[in-house]
Point group: C2
Amino acid sequence: MNIEVQTNIEDVIAAIAAPPEIYLAQARTRLDSLTKPLGSLGRLEDLAAQWFAIRQGNLTAPVSKSVYVFAADHGITAEGVSAYPAKVTQQMVLNFLSGGAAINVLARLNRVAMNVVDVGVDGDLFGYAGLLDGKVRRGSRNMLREPAMSPEEVAAALAVGLTMAEAAHTKGTNLVAVGEMGIGNTTAASVMTAALTGMPAALVTGKGAGLDSEGYLRKCQIVEAVVKNHFVQPAGPRKILRCAGGLEIAAMTGMILGAARRQMAIVMDGFISTAAAAIACGLAPAVRPYLFAGHQSQEPGHRILLAHLEMEPILDLQMRLGEGSGAVLAMPVLEGAMRLYQEMATFASAGISGATA
Amino acid sequence: MNIEVQTNIEDVIAAIAAPPEIYLAQARTRLDSLTKPLGSLGRLEDLAAQWFAIRQGNLTAPVSKSVYVFAADHGITAEGVSAYPAKVTQQMVLNFLSGGAAINVLARLNRVAMNVVDVGVDGDLFGYAGLLDGKVRRGSRNMLREPAMSPEEVAAALAVGLTMAEAAHTKGTNLVAVGEMGIGNTTAASVMTAALTGMPAALVTGKGAGLDSEGYLRKCQIVEAVVKNHFVQPAGPRKILRCAGGLEIAAMTGMILGAARRQMAIVMDGFISTAAAAIACGLAPAVRPYLFAGHQSQEPGHRILLAHLEMEPILDLQMRLGEGSGAVLAMPVLEGAMRLYQEMATFASAGISGATA
């Protein structure tokens, strides 16, 4: 790994502070003064208030957007849980680097800086221009047989994410999307969701990138078996991450913790990044007010995880791609909410009559 | 009215042709070749295919976006159906012209050209820079007592919209949002929805800009009474528009018809613009494939109208503002869908393995 680790996870967790509640009330007062019927911007008003609170009332810095896509392979793919072969992880990383993937297109359109991080791809990617090398191991271990990561591997992968958060902060990023690529990682997220919420395997498992019915049933059985192997007793977020999380999921967890510590607004993508966010919230509940749910994925476990976090998605477009695509697609809505907050006239300034009721 | 009427409504209706079905199949073939699991872009794939069909396979021209906001007053406000006084229509038009309304902010952010058209504001707005003067009458008639418009007024208002569509076409616009401002116009849209779908007043009537419970009950009674006065027998779209539509709704209908005739993609906003679109589809069913539903409004009648048109909204953010705000907010999603279609690599070009299943 050529990225210098700059931060200790325990220090970061201790340093995360939720924005003071007073900013939400201040935001509501301003929103109610804008030239629109009270509450008529709906969810946009909640998004704007949350953004105002994250920025602690200081909106002078322009919005600076980045997406970080963390890639890794998963030992569990040996059990036949995915419709695509594991080598697609590496192939898609190269696609990210050459600009041909969905996330590249959406990042270009919405002016979001694109970052690709190898945390654990099972292949030699060293030296590719534009790739951030944070490789911890060539893929996680097969979680059906042993914990997916050793404690040292978890720590190293978390540190990759923390380092990325520090780099983003240094560049002035204040709105960050967290995405991933990893064949097999919906299986990891399903196990994590079952462990976090106690829901049965059948309710947290989906068809991933496109399993047929037979493949889906096999995946459900694997998820159930992994849960049984590691989580007979209820487990905390650290153990859940170590036993079931992929290397990219641990790195995303680190990125989310580090971004919250630096008071960035964080947009989750789908099932996998929400699993990372749920672990981050488990480690540090003060992360929660920095999070936005970019979209509702079609993976059934994602709905359960969002309910677990008590969050509503911004978009619901039946997507199930990952890569950060749903998060980056939601960014213009979030930016719209903020700009409305900042730029709309007030009833007083525009000389407009209020409600008569 | 200083806008020269260039088009006859019957000629326009006759000239509207749905895009050939073949383009949808062509689009599906390309979508399935892109570097993503089959169908994993969800609704974005439907949006891209529809856009490709509207453009009849020719995507060389860049996306050029405009929003048209049509403003008019409503005679029915004499019955106390709105939380805001009627003079707010004119005040908000001035707010549009000075750039302080929600639609201004969203149009600037998303690079959408903003057009404000006075079709029937009850006030003297002549000579304001930037306002397109299409005034037919100072407000519609009180539809509780008589049809909201005379046949000549309907024709004149439709012509305003047609003229705007021609102007947009001449400027190279290929993606147009249709919005409105008009105190009292949710009452008009509720009556139109009841007449179009046969649904009872209580199900098509909402709280508009913010009625209290008492005001809401009064509005329901007015809607029911108007429906009884004009629509004892099932009525066609022309009669529904004349008896219950406001001048801005008729102009929006004309704009939608004219835009479909010129093969523009049309993004509806909320309840009012969808009522206009439903009338346009009633007059010319070939309009339907040119329409996108920008968002789901909180007005209960909007859900019914979208079901009537068999359309799914792009966004659902509990908004109820109008002005075209939901339509313009949805434009980046639509543009994202198109750009993904155009710019993503294919499995073959990127050398990526397909599904093994």
